[in-house]
């Protein structure tokens, strides 16, 4: 029922008319830059939240006060570059009238003489809790600096009290870092660069799938509307079946997307996305080529579903403005993918994650995101691909019917009921 010799010219026209534009090459270069920027910029801005902070530490324990003061000074000295943060400690002996002292210190905070107050009047083992008073208790960096310094200092103090020799304190309180090792297939162990970096890779790949689905679906819709509004569509369907025109268009625009993906994949495999994100020249951790293959497959399967839907929307309306409203219906399908991405990424094996990721319209984003974290079992991959194939078929049938009727309808904006009727009669 489809004559490929008819589809081919449409496909080539769609492909060339897009690839030959500057916009294509600019977006090919810009999207990865944007994505990396989205990952790197928040951290960078975070680092810009530096400055000098003066914090009063209220404690009866002179040893503890000294330890905190020294530690913060050491940290401040170790920091360099822009966004550097220095914390100066002002040790304060608890006064007999605690309430008056507290009030007095709070006034100084309000007057901006102090950034905050660490309140730990008691000595000894204590409650394991320290109060921090400030007008801005969400200054994340400052609070975490204080938390780390005070916690270590209190721990050391407890060890001293327990009779541990002072020269062993450093060794006993050294921070322990957790090194991630991924268990792959064949139980092979792969050292991961770091949790954050592995997360960044998942995020970048998944987000790329999501964004390109929206972009390319939208291109298909615009292209259909353009053919309607420029009144060329009737010239073409005099020789092509509407289905041939639609398929040529979807394949042509899809081929553009695939070209873009291939460029990204080749660059990613060669550069190593992780290296880019870390902002460091890392030679070893290249992106897993198998994951890259699924990256392309999931884009393609998602694209066919969304492109067909967008083609139907485009065919139903006369202008982009009219289509806008229905498009927000489309985002009702796409947005849950985005919202569920983080929960699914956090526990990719949970029953909930498995179920939502197998819903065909969500799979391109959610199933793929599971793959970036850990490869799901083979039967799930097979089931997911099969369900998407069925979905593509069903959506394409619906879209083709709407498309067939819609492309020659001008004038009044159709209602959703009209579109449903077209899908029946087409």
């Amino acid at each position: 029922m489809m004559r490929w010799r008819k589809v081919w010219p449409v496909l080539r026209r769609e492909y060339l008319s897009r690839v030959q534009t500057k916009a294509f090459w600019i977006s090919t270069a810009l999207v990865p830059i944007l994505l990396v920027a989205m990952m790197v910029l928040p951290a960078w801005f975070m680092r810009r939240t530096g400055g000098d902070f003066r914090v009063a530490v209220v404690t009866a324990d002179g040893e503890l006060a000294r330890e905190i003061t020294e530690r913060t000074r050491e940290h401040a000295a170790a920091r360099t570059g822009p966004g550097r943060m220095t914390v100066t400690i002002e040790p304060v002996e608890p006064a007999p009238d605690a309430a008056a002292q507290r009030l007095d210190l709070k006034r100084r905070v309000a007057n901006k003489e102090l950034a905050g107050i660490v309140w730990r009047p008691e000595t000894g083992i204590g409650t394991g809790e320290v109060e921090y008073l400030s007008v801005n208790v969400t200054a994340v960096r400052l609070v975490s600096e204080l938390e780390s310094v005070v916690s270590t200092a209190v721990t050391k103090r407890r060890l001293l009290d327990a009779g541990v020799a002072r020269d062993r304190l450093e060794a006993l309180t050294r921070r322990v870092s957790v090194r991630p090792v991924r268990i792959g297939e064949d139980l092979r162990e792969t050292a991961e660069a770091a949790f954050e970096k592995s997360f960044a890779l998942s995020y970048i790949l998944t987000f790329t799938v999501y964004m390109t689905l929206i972009f390319y679906g939208y291109y298909v819709m615009r292209s259909v509307i353009e053919e309607k509004s420029s009144r060329i569509v009737e010239i073409i369907v005099a020789n092509l079946r509407p289905m041939e025109l639609m398929v040529g268009k979807i394949f042509g625009v899809g081929a553009v997307g695939l070209t873009q993906y291939l460029i990204w994949v080749i660059v990613a495999i060669n550069l190593g996305v992780t290296g880019l994100v870390a902002g460091a020249a890392m030679s070893a951790p290249l992106v897993d080529p198998k994951l890259m293959i699924f990256f392309v497959i999931f884009f393609v399967m998602g694209y066919f579903q969304y492109a067909a839907l967008y083609a139907a929307v485009g065919a139903a309306f006369n202008t982009e403005e009219e289509a806008q409203q229905t498009q927000s219906l489309m985002s009702l399908i796409l947005v849950p993918s985005m919202l569920l991405m983080f929960p699914v990424m956090a526990s990719p094996d949970a029953k909930f994650a498995v179920i939502v990721s197998l819903i065909p319209v969500f799979s391109p984003v959610l199933f793929f995101t599971r793959m970036t974290v850990q490869m799901p079992p083979g039967w799930q991959i097979a089931l997911c691909l099969a369900l998407m194939l069925v979905s593509i078929f069903v959506i394409a049938r619906f879209a083709a019917a709407v498309y067939r009727v819609g492309i020659l309808m001008y004038g009044k904006k159709p209602t959703l009921g009209d579109i449903w009727r077209w899908s029946r009669q087409g």
Partner: protein
């Protein structure tokens, strides 16, 4: 004459509106065939059914004696009433694309596209974008795109709308030269003088039904009432008394004598010359437009 395209009792309804009702017509091979009718008569729907853009609810459409299908329609060149081009495409590329869509292989499409641009005098615009062309030039490109595959039949839906006088004359010449090459031309119009000038055959449709069709000359002979326009010093009463004259009326300083039914032109002129002083006689006939208006009005009266 061999029938090239035949429409047999075709009907098409959109919802509750019946656009075409039991329409039958035959287009002889090599003719220029006019599909005439007021706006909304069903011309475009009929043409779209021939092109299989919409499918008839009932009836058959035969092309060269066979039921038309997606392969046979390749033999038709079609220019719809609503027509446009991809604005951002380059002219030669666009025409090549249309050639491919019409079924030509790409190298052949490209060759013919180039040749057509020469013919249209647009060779120097080949690598311009369509949107840079004037409207008239775009219309020429659209026309070339419709006939680039050298079809047996060309169907033009309201081809003259929006054309300036020069382009109108060029298109008329092109239609006649296509007929000269043996191509069947079917076009729709609601402008009767154009049809009268170009067509061998017509089909007049109103409200979805054919109300008059056949060879234009035959239809004229059958339906056009004849009249004589005379220059004479004789008073109306004397003119009216001549055998064969039914009525007399004055029109721009001359008198027009309507002939009584069944009276020949020649016999009436002889009778006139014998009876009254004559300084000039001219035979006038109803134009196609007159026939058209009369028939359409009669059709409405019949329903009302």
């Amino acid at each position: 004459m061999e029938t090239h395209l035949e429409v047999q009792a075709v009907s098409k309804a959109f919802g509750r509106v019946t656009a075409v009702r039991e329409l039958s017509a035959a287009v002889p091979r090599g003719s220029v065939f006019g599909l005439l009718g007021p706006n909304g008569a069903g011309k475009t729907t009929t043409i779209r059914m021939v092109m299989r853009i919409v499918l008839p609810d009932s009836g058959r459409i035969l092309f060269g004696g066979r039921d038309i299908d997606d392969e046979l329609r390749e033999l038709i060149g079609y220019l719809p009433e609503e027509r446009g081009l991809y604005r951002r495409m380059r002219v030669l590329e666009h025409l090549t694309f249309l050639g491919e869509v019409r079924g030509l292989a790409r190298p052949e499409a490209r060759r013919r596209a180039g040749a057509w641009l020469e013919i249209l005098g647009l060779a120097d615009k080949a690598s311009r974008r369509v949107e840079e062309l004037s409207k008239g030039m775009q219309q020429k490109v659209q026309f070339a795109g419709a006939v680039i595959h050298e079809p047996e039949m060309v169907i033009l839906d309201e081809p003259f709308t929006g054309l300036d006088p020069i382009a109108t004359r060029q298109l008329k010449e092109e239609i006649l030269s296509m007929r000269g090459r043996g191509t069947t031309v079917l076009f729709s119009t609601h402008v009767m003088p154009q049809a009268e000038e170009l067509c061998d055959h017509i089909c007049l449709i109103n409200r979805g039904r054919a109300i008059l069709q056949g060879r234009l000359d035959d239809l004229r002979a059958e339906h056009a009432r004849q009249a004589l326009r005379v220059e004479s010093t004789a008073p109306d009463s004397e003119l009216a008394a001549v055998a064969g004259v039914a009525t007399v009326r004055s029109a721009d300083g001359r008198r027009v004598l309507e002939l009584a039914p069944g009276c020949g032109v020649e016999a009436t002129i002889r009778a006139l010359a014998a009876a009254v002083p004559l300084s000039g006689v001219q035979v006038v006939r109803d134009s196609l437009e007159d026939i058209f208006i009369k028939r359409v009005e009669a059709d409405h009266d019949a329903v009302a």
